[in-house]
Symmetry: C2
Subunit: 887 residues, 2 copies
């Protein structure tokens, strides 16, 4: 049997990518599906490998097979290669198994020469078109195959335009192009010492070899190395008959979507032009007509197109984006692919396809990229509006916002009070800026990363936030900021997009989120399939309510420190911290107690019947104190002025001392979490008391309260043991006997030691909640606030890390600890409840991991709850599929 180097489109299928490359396999598949694809054939990757391994020699028999294939094409098309009357023209394209930049580009219209160009001219009745095609072919061939610098061809065209005194290529006429082609050929002769090959077979041979050679050009090699694509794969060569839509009024070209890509509605969508080629549409010389007009103009073609569209949808089981050409009353499909669509359309189409029985509901769920849902839940910038992007910071909290620039929190509050929309722009924010953040539409900071104060607070509030825009230089005295050449003053309008990190000049129109019926339906299907529970991270009743509305099944993380950060409380919190006697501290705590109690009551009411995991105070106390640098500046000034305000000076000096005493070299690894609870039990006692008083009062209102008390930063079982004793004691003291409230006590697993010794820790825990933000920081030894600004970006860019581990959970390292923790914990307590409350709980790959690792739930910010519901369903479906495939 002779070796087969050439495969016709009708002989192949989608599974033959190794042999035919991606493009070739695809063309074969379309042909197989009965689509009117222009006929053609593929020279296989085997031939390429042979060529590479044999010093650039084509295998024996290849050329005979190409000739046979061409004859077949001629038969199918009724045209002949090199026939001046009815010339067969072909395109030549490279096509490796994986799509790769750097490979040889397409060559169109191969087969043209001085004689066949005349045939094309008379067939289309358009000499200008024919010579334009011809010069394009020579130009591409010269550039790609003969490697003549591109600019030399451009120079010839420009000279012609000068001579003709015109500005654009489109203004040149047939004669001009004819002249250009002849000068192109002179150029080729000059550059290569050989004439441009008039023989179409010779053209084809040179083009095919050029494709093979391009496999080993420098750019392609680098790309393969970076993407770990083996050098031995080789590329295929696709040869396909050209068709023309400009052969008269019975010809045309167009693009059709099988459904509306914007709304998802079930209607043919697109546009076409009669007697035109694709370039004409792109060039914008003539205005295309909406696709519905095709029915009037060419009712039969319209029928056929509609039928094909329907078939294609059924065949590919998805909405298709189709390029077609009509050549003399015959419809050709040039390309079909899954159509790009908006998030709204994606959801509607998936649900509709399921209802139409084209796909099942599992498949419908898999069709939606979970992160798309995110844009449906926040206001976003109108994608159709023009915008001037000034810079890009870290996308710290999704959503978009426009408003006037203000540089301090008081000013923000004041202007917002007058109904103005403002964007708070700060070097960084502190608890003292909370009222400003609350008043602003969005926040922009120059320092800090995805876990900076501004980012965390903004995400909690669902406000847009862009962080770490280091190139923005703020001068707080002058109330202005400089971004490169641009000066932004207080009161100037600015817009930010917290989903992309973009900072945009001026006001930009925003679009409100829409929650369609299909969206709800899809999430219901997700809920039926997912195994993971989905909870929300929420610190106040508003967020809790929002979370419940979006489908949260409880609160997985209620951070009590945000309750300490409200403007009117900060002074009391400071009073507590600065207390010099136990009595003073107790007094301050007594003032905080009723406030905390009301916080919890509000949340319990919203979450009636659902569990609420409350984390006791976590951050180091110095976070609630003023900044030492500011104090130093003030003190130095007072010193220089002579100390006429002796008392105030001493007061400030005392404050500075305390700030210094509490300051830490590495606050992330410092005196926080349960370490605070152990050294200052009175703070945790107050919090626990507030929780149980609130629970008790709510119960009397008939509310079903399910508190879960979470101890942060445990690294040794003894820490949890002591804290558990504290909780149990205070609970017993607070609630009357016989009316006990059912609660549980658990811990965050957020330092490696907790995961490594989970079998000990589980003996004292009712539940584990993996705090994967901190666990990622400690496992890598990365301070997120420092890493993201200083080196992590470069790590991802240079592929040292595949992903930012704060966005996508690092399976090998952090994930190994999570699995170890789950396994060890359950080994001593099989009923142990295990969840995750880091930001990874709202990211699809990480959710997939949580499903695989056997966690019971994920918890994420309220606006990410729908995403998590969908991702959890996808995880369940894909794992089930894999298992099926294995069996």
């Amino acid at each position: 049997m002779r070796e087969k180097w050439v495969v016709h489109f009708h002989e192949g299928n989608a599974g033959m990518k190794d042999l035919l490359g991606g493009k070739g396999a695809n063309l074969a598949e379309m042909t197989r599906a009965g689509l009117p694809v222009p006929p053609g054939f593929t020279i296989t990757t085997d031939a390429c490998r042979f060529y590479m391994n044999n010093g650039g020699m084509l295998p024996d028999g290849l050329w005979e097979q190409v000739k046979e294939a061409l004859q077949h094409l001629e038969k199918e098309s009724g045209k002949r290669f090199g026939d001046p009357d009815s010339p067969l023209l072909v395109s030549v394209r490279s096509g490796a198994k994986f799509s790769m930049p750097g490979m040889m580009d397409t060559i169109l219209n191969l087969g043209l020469n001085d004689r066949t160009v005349e045939g094309l001219s008379s067939a289309t009745g358009n000499p200008r078109f024919a010579y334009d095609c011809y010069r394009r072919f020579i130009q591409m061939f010269g550039d790609v195959v003969l490697e003549i610098p591109h600019y030399l061809f451009e120079k010839i065209i420009n000279e012609r335009k000068e001579k003709a005194k015109v500005q654009y290529d489109t203004e040149l006429e047939a004669a001009d192009w004819k002249e250009v082609t002849s000068r192109f050929k002179q150029l080729i002769l000059r550059q290569t010492g050989k004439r441009f090959p008039e023989d179409p077979m010779e053209q084809l041979r040179q083009a095919a070899e050029a494709v093979f050679k391009s496999w080993n050009n420098a750019r392609a090699k680098v790309y393969r190395k970076m993407n770990r694509i083996p050098d031995t794969l080789g590329t295929a060569v696709n040869v396909q008959m050209m068709v023309f839509g400009n052969m008269g009024e019975d010809s045309g070209t167009g693009v059709a979507f099988t459904r509306n890509p914007s709304s998802g509605d079930r209607e043919l969508y697109g546009e076409f032009l009669l007697n035109a080629q694709g370039e004409d549409v792109v060039a914008g010389i003539r205005t295309p007509q909406p696709i519905r007009v095709l029915q009037e103009k060419m009712p039969e073609i319209d029928q056929e197109l509609k039928r094909i569209c329907q078939e294609l949808e059924r065949y590919y089981q998805d909405m298709q984006d189709i390029e077609f050409t009509i050549e003399r009353g015959k419809l050709y499909i040039l390309q079909t692919r899954a159509g790009k669509r908006t998030a709204q359309a994606a959801v509607k189409i998936a649900v509709d396809l399921a209802y139409e029985g084209i796909i099942d509901r599992d498949e419908a769920l898999l069709r939606i990229a979970p992160e798309q849902l995110d844009q449906m839940l926040h206001r976003r910038i109108d994608p159709n509006a023009p915008k001037e992007v000034l810079a890009k910071g870290l996308p710290a909290s999704p959503g978009a916002a426009s408003g006037k620039i203000v540089f301090d929190a008081d000013q923000a509050e004041q202007l917002a009070g007058k109904g103005e929309k403002v964007i708070l722009v700060r070097p960084e924010t502190t608890p003292e800026d909370i009222h400003g953040i609350l008043a602003a539409q969005g926040i922009l900071t120059t320092r800090g990363g995805m876990t900076s104060h501004a980012a965390v607070v903004a995400r909690g509030m669902g406000k847009a936030c862009v962080c770490g825009l280091e190139q923005l230089k703020i001068d707080l005295r002058l109330k202005e900021a400089v971004l490169g050449e641009i000066r932004l003053k207080e009161g100037d309008f600015i817009s930010i997009d917290g989903s992309t990190g973009q900072v945009i000049r001026g006001e930009v129109p925003l679009i409100d989120p829409e929650l369609s019926a299909e969206f709800r339906e899809l999430l219901n299907w997700a809920d039926e399939r997912r195994v993971l529970g989905v909870r929300a991270n929420a610190d106040n009743p508003v967020d809790a309510g929002k979370a419940r509305q979006l489908g949260a099944e409880g609160i997985g993380l209620c951070r009590t420190e945000h309750m300490f950060m409200e403007a009117e409380r900060v002074p009391i919190v400071q009073e507590m911290i600065l207390a010099e006697t136990f009595a003073e501290r107790e007094r301050a705590l007594a003032k905080l107690l009723p406030m905390q109690k009301e916080d919890f009551k509000g949340i319990f009411r919203e979450m009636d019947g659902l569990p609420v995991t409350i984390r006791l105070l976590d951050p180091p106390l110095h976070e609630f104190l003023p900044n030492s640098e500011e104090l130093i500046v003030e003190l130095t000034k007072m010193q220089m002025q002579g100390r006429d305000k002796e008392e105030e000076y001493l007061e400030k000096e005392k404050l500075l001392k305390k700030v210094r005493a509490l300051s830490e070299f590495n606050p992330m690894l410092g005196h926080r979490g349960c370490r605070l609870g152990l050294t200052h039990p009175e703070i945790y006692e107050m919090q626990v008391k507030a929780i149980f008083l609130a629970a008790d009062e709510c119960r009397r209102e008939g509310i079903n309260v399910m508190p879960e008390i979470m101890i942060p930063l445990v690294g040794h079982v003894n820490e949890l043991k002591r804290m558990r004793e504290l909780v149990e004691r205070v609970a017993a003291e607070t609630v009357k006997e016989g009316e006990a409230i059912s609660y549980s006590v658990g811990t965050m697993i957020e330092v490696p030691r907790a995961a490594l010794t989970a079998d000990e820790i589980a003996t004292e825990a009712d539940f584990f909640s993996f705090g994967t933000n901190d666990l990622t920081q400690t496992t890598f030894g990365f301070s997120r606030d420092d890493a993201e600004g200083k080196f992590l970006h470069g790590y991802v860019e240079n592929k040292i890390l595949a992903d930012n581990p704060f966005v996508t959970l690092d399976r090998k390292g952090v994930g190994q600890l999570v699995r170890l923790g789950v396994e060890k914990g359950r080994s001593v307590k099989p009923e142990l409840k295990v969840g995750i409350c880091g930001e990874h709980g709202g990211e699809k790959n990480s959710i997939q991991f949580c499903h695989e690792a056997g966690l019971q739930y994920v918890s994420c910010s309220p606006f990410r709850v729908p995403l998590a519901r969908l991702a959890a369903a996808q995880a369940a479906i894909s794992v089930k599929k894999e298992q099926k495939q294995k069996n």
Copy 2:
């Protein structure tokens, strides 16, 4: 067979602790060894358990057995219980399996009553002694058995003293004590409604029951709970005949060490008093005589004692500390135990015992607590000198130092230049203080912990250092420091003990370290037995030389950053950091290159033929820049003064900006280690070039150079891969072809992810070195600098953690990662060399762990090398022993 509730001393042995308690088993063992121990018997823990389980009822037959045992005692002693002429007196003591506070105290002289006291009086010829004994017995009995408050007895004594117009108990006479006893008895009748029991059998019964009851008192219960001692063990009761050394000139009492506890010399050492009781020695009324005088006074007793001492050493195979009493010419041994000794003596005794064939060399090695060696290698405070301890900080670098206080580095250098001894006292130190540290005898800081700059540098230099003495308030302007009430001025003398953290007023005499022949002998034995290699952490030729002299087999960690911190280099390092163009940075690096090269040459010369592990730059760059607070103060001052020095202001402002830009929230987790090497390859390139230039030049001198280049802070294999490429490239560029220097490239394992993915990392590493300091920080999530000052101390004190994990390696958490790392690393590369270079490398328990985990070597500071050699030998011996026991 009747149940046995009572066991005679001569019936038991040391193995019967469960039944007889620790004390009872010990007394039995001494009796068995043929020692003249005063006879007695033990009521078993079985009896106690019966008593507890049967509502306080003594078991049937117990009392008969006690009576029989007493008769036996009477026969042995020739005295009779309750006999007024020759009364048998006994002591009653509790004794559980584990020694426990909170249990009933000793009752002495039981058996005394109004009649027998007269017998004792005439037997001793000392009525004052007899009545003092009697009143003590009643007092103890009343307090312990009858639970009458202690102060009521004291009140009676005080009234008597007032009446007698004397100040001290010792001034009261026989008649006074007789009067006191009768008032004690009235008190007992008043308080209990019952008379004091005159019947010795009744006294004994009540005392025994009181011992049983005390097992369940509150203090004992809490202690057992804390120490996990089962409540069901119960206690035994020991009843032993009293002997008296004050029965005339043929009686006496004393203490003897079988060898000199200070020097270890083989000679009887101790003192004695004739016709005296132990209390007389303690009270200091009479001066005891040296033991050698006993030979003149009582030659036979002296002979017997010497014989017994020799026997005891052989029996217990160690130097003994013996209490003895001579009653009417008969020698009794009251107690023998291993004698306390100095480090010097410990070493000499162990080596001598081995030479004498009493123990083998393995045992000799096990006898020395490795940490004792530490005090032999540093100057220390003369233990006999009086001293006033002012406060206690963190013991950051061992050794002691005295000198004048200075508050800045320049002053330190200046005074030291004049031959003065100074102690540098600073809030904290920075690289700019290095010349001051070098000049000072010792360093005292108020901030920072065991890894602060001062601590690390001092340990490296072998200088005494006390850190984190937070209560010391320094006023740099006034050049004074305040510690509570005490004001310390510049020039005042102070002493510090870096082994204990003590800060002492004034100058204290210091003792130089002595390295005896026995010390060297012992370490040679250790070297023959240990499996672990021992290397040193050394950053300069002096330390390297010292390390080699102390037995180091290479350098396990050479920190190149300390080379950057030398005073004359800091400006160049700053120039490099502040460089705004690549060319400027290259210029600064070019200046550093020859300096680094000379550093390495010096070290290579010292370590000829031994491996040197060089860690490339590790700390974040901002550590080399000035402090931002100081800059802010200066800038604020300049602002207030009007900017007449505009240029200087702008310069400083620029510097501040850079300091700010480089500053980090959590430097420990920030832009350091190989992260620097990846973002600023030019720095590592310079260092690698310096290493290979130095190696090359040394090789030409005939030195055998063995560099091992260590990449710090690797968390992902790709980091190491890129850095390895850099090292290999620069090595190839630096050293001529054909003259390649053999070197290896490895990594620190110091973040959890490195250990968790060691199987990946090992593919790029020739060796692993566990950096357990940082690994402990990241595994626990403890910043050492913050934790030790703020909560870790409390954690250890309150038994949340058994040990400070920065001192003793945490086996469960950090150790688990080390084992995982070793296992995974060797799974892909069996020949992988694995060591440890954290401070744990110089701590005995951690060294034991390293041996068990199969590491090849430990590396520690030069002065800890002998300790490590010994500890490594002990680990090998004890593991071998365990295996033997298993087989």
